[in-house]
Assembly symmetry: C2
Homo-oligomer: 345 residues x 2
């Protein structure tokens, strides 16, 4: 399997290394060979080439079997004409990664670390399907001396494909989809609601579908997060809501994501950012990145047992307390990764 690794900025390189170590041990045990090729993205790429997504990085990603990404961005590039995040947005678009999957399960051993009461977060098991290649992220932008604008566009086709992805996931889960929009204000949201309602009626009538407004959803996700199974939403709302719920499990450092297209390679990255304040100090939690690698094994390579093996090892390690400082532990990134590798063996 040819895997392109984009370490990126801040803690990105440290967690990307952790994922490679874990994958190598999976390879040894199950007899697979993972070939890793590193390429530049984000601030690191800007420093080296002036561009946030150099051509050869893009070409390598498109030719790979899958892509692992650490993190991009940091205050270092604040005044820069090219921003690191442009590299992330450009690779999502270039690879056609329209479906961003962000699963959240609150581990019983970590529920006490949540800012929410234990009885509210215990047993939460949901997944966000965020549309990733359209909306206000990719619409036309203008700037004059006295004003600025951003255009949010959605096409029927863009909504259909992410809706289908969410309904299909719900079939394998508890059979419920909550579609989030702002239909009382936005035209794109009204189209969103119509299309989701139609796809549901025509293709997935056995799934339970509910619609929620983004503002009340921001409330419900804190009051009763256990009520949700699959959450389906557009790019910007997905960005905000998935970060909001990332606190439920006690640390954002735990959470993985998968970004998938119609075909072609997927991209796998932790939810957390580049965390420049702790970069290079062996402090980053490797779990979000390692679980992203597990999602890669499942979604890109169909290696279900191998993915389960990583997830079980992570659960065991979390239960044992062999964790990094964000979870109140004493281990560094390298040692926490070693604990996961040991648990796999």
């Amino acid at each position: 399997f040819n895997i392109v690794v984009l370490p990126g900025d801040g803690v990105g390189p440290e967690v990307a290394l952790a994922a490679q170590r874990v994958l190598n041990s999976i390879g040894d045990i199950y007899g697979h060979r993972f070939e890793f090729t590193e390429h530049l993205i984000g601030g690191a790429a800007i420093d080296a080439t002036g561009e946030a997504l150099p051509e050869d990085t893009k070409a390598a990603c498109l030719a790979a079997d899958a892509v692992l990404l650490g993190a991009v961005g940091g205050p270092k590039w604040d005044g820069s004409p090219v921003r690191p995040e442009q590299g992330l947005l450009a690779i999502r678009k270039a690879m056609g990664l329209y479906a961003n999957l962000r699963p959240l399960q609150v581990s019983p051993v970590l529920a006490h670390r949540s800012p929410l009461k234990k009885e509210i977060v215990e047993g939460v098991d949901l997944i966000v399907f965020r549309e990733l290649t359209s909306g206000v992220y990719f619409g036309e932008k203008t700037r004059t001396a006295t004003s600025a604008s951003d255009l949010c566009v959605y096409t029927v086709e863009e909504i259909e494909r992410i809706a289908r992805a969410a309904f299909q996931a719900a079939q394998q889960r508890r059979g419920k989809v909550t579609s989030v929009d702002k239909a009382n204000v936005m035209e794109t949201s009204r189209l969103w609601r119509e299309v989701v309602t139609r796809i549901h009626a025509e293709e997935y009538p056995q799934i339970t579908l509910e619609h929620a407004l983004v503002d009340s959803m921001a409330m419900h996700l804190i009051r009763k997060p256990r009520d949700y199974d699959v959450i389906l939403t557009e790019n910007m709302f997905g960005d905000i809501l998935s970060d909001e719920i990332s606190v439920l499990g006690g640390s954002i450092g735990l959470l993985p994501s998968a970004s998938l297209g119609a075909d072609g390679p997927g991209l796998f990255e932790p939810i957390h950012g580049s965390a420049p304040d702790i970069a290079g100090q062996d402090l980053a939690n490797p779990v979000g990145m390692v679980l992203s690698a597990a999602m890669m094994l499942r979604h890109s390579f169909d290696l279900e047992d191998e993915a389960n093996s990583i997830e079980a090892a992570v659960a065991a390690v979390l239960a044992s307390g062999a964790v990094t400082a964000d979870l109140g532990g004493a281990l560094g990134t390298v040692e926490a990764t070693r604990a996961i590798v040991d648990a796999i063996r």
Copy 2:
């Protein structure tokens, strides 16, 4: 004082009545005369006139000293060509209400009802300054057979005036403003950040200013809500974030808001919606609307003592447990209002 009352839909009429009762008792004690004139808005107006904001309602609001609004909307008008919310958006625009103030103080007696841990929410005291007459709410919308769009526009002037309002409020408070945007993606956010930074440097250098991205802010508001004093943000982000934090205090039914323009009357409404499921059953919590009336006394009529009197009465009543069902109490809207009136006397 000529006050236009817009009861609106759902529980709106019940809470609007509660506010009038409380204001009448304040009038008796302090020797003021509040004249209330009711007008139609939202679904009630659509049913009666076909329009969400009839001309005479608009004219009455513009001529009033202040406006009290209950709530608008409900599933009854879901398929309707005119939506109730259009009335709310239209009156905000017509009155030029660019500054929406949403204060949140977590009452120590109610902290245990929060979904968050007591030690996290106790002592929270913040106020959101949400821009209310621009952004994606009021930009051009398009619709074709295969797509839809919403335009988000901000002018320098629109950002300047809400920024000044937030900085001025911070001067009377703990001296800190957190400006929220999505500057790594949106052009309007980059303009927002520039303008806020400039107004700060030129006019309010003694205030502490920090910038936060909306996604990480959605996280921080749950992890460390006590860190915030004044939160300054654009229309849509303000909608989402203020609903998110509304759960911190234990019930959204507690929270007031004030919408103010450059001059002319302000509009005062609770944060909660029309709650059609409990409408007409004497179940609604009157506190959010009553505290909105207190904000009216303070901001529109400069009656600081009278506003304090209402706020002290509400605090006493909450402490005594004379509350509605959303707070675990046994009182109806009418009785809970009477308890507040009794406490004022």
